[in-house]
Symmetry: C2
Subunit: 108 residues, 2 copies
């Protein structure tokens, strides 16, 4: 059963491609975190927020990542990180095409 980790925090930028350029190596390192299936990087310049939505293989991996990531963000100057670990309701998510299994991107 997959586990969803939801993280957000107050963040004043940089956003978009400037952020992507700065954090490419960090993103690549996240692929090696135990149990990580995927991450969507979230940001809002309007609301001054950063964050991420992650799918993990199990709760222990999600909790361990959240503790590590919170400490890392604190070192980057972000004092308060809002992190929540959720179970996924698979039956309902499947009805709504929720990407909760290993997926491949359609190449049209």
């Amino acid at each position: 059963m997959s586990i969803l980790l939801q993280v957000d925090f107050d963040y004043s930028g940089p956003f978009g491609e400037e952020m992507a350029g700065m954090l490419t190596s960090l993103a690549e390192s996240i692929n090696h975190e135990p149990g990580m299936i995927w991450k969507i990087w979230t940001e809002s310049e309007q609301d001054k927020l950063g964050g991420g939505i992650y799918l993990f293989e199990d709760k222990a991996s999600a909790n361990a990542y959240l503790a590590m990531h919170t400490a890392r963000l604190k070192e980057m100057g972000i004092a308060e990180v809002r992190g929540k670990v959720f179970d996924v309701n698979s039956s309902l998510s499947i009805i709504n095409q929720g990407p909760i299994e290993k997926l491949s991107i359609d190449k049209p």
Copy 2:
């Protein structure tokens, strides 16, 4: 550019298959919401939370859905809904296999 909507709220159940049985029709109706690409249904019996992570085609659709859904949850007795609309950082999400495009599930 896809938009991510993050919703959670205090919720005391039912969870899991009991919730899925109650809300199958609601989930089916969500497939007809304008601009909705997918939803992952999130829940935590431990932390007494419900919620959802959605991908939308554009910000207007995400904002309209959040307003409608917040009103609907209020009718169901949930007074405070935490909803946040995010841009997706595509370059970083693609590095981490983030499902931000139209996807198909691998059938092994």
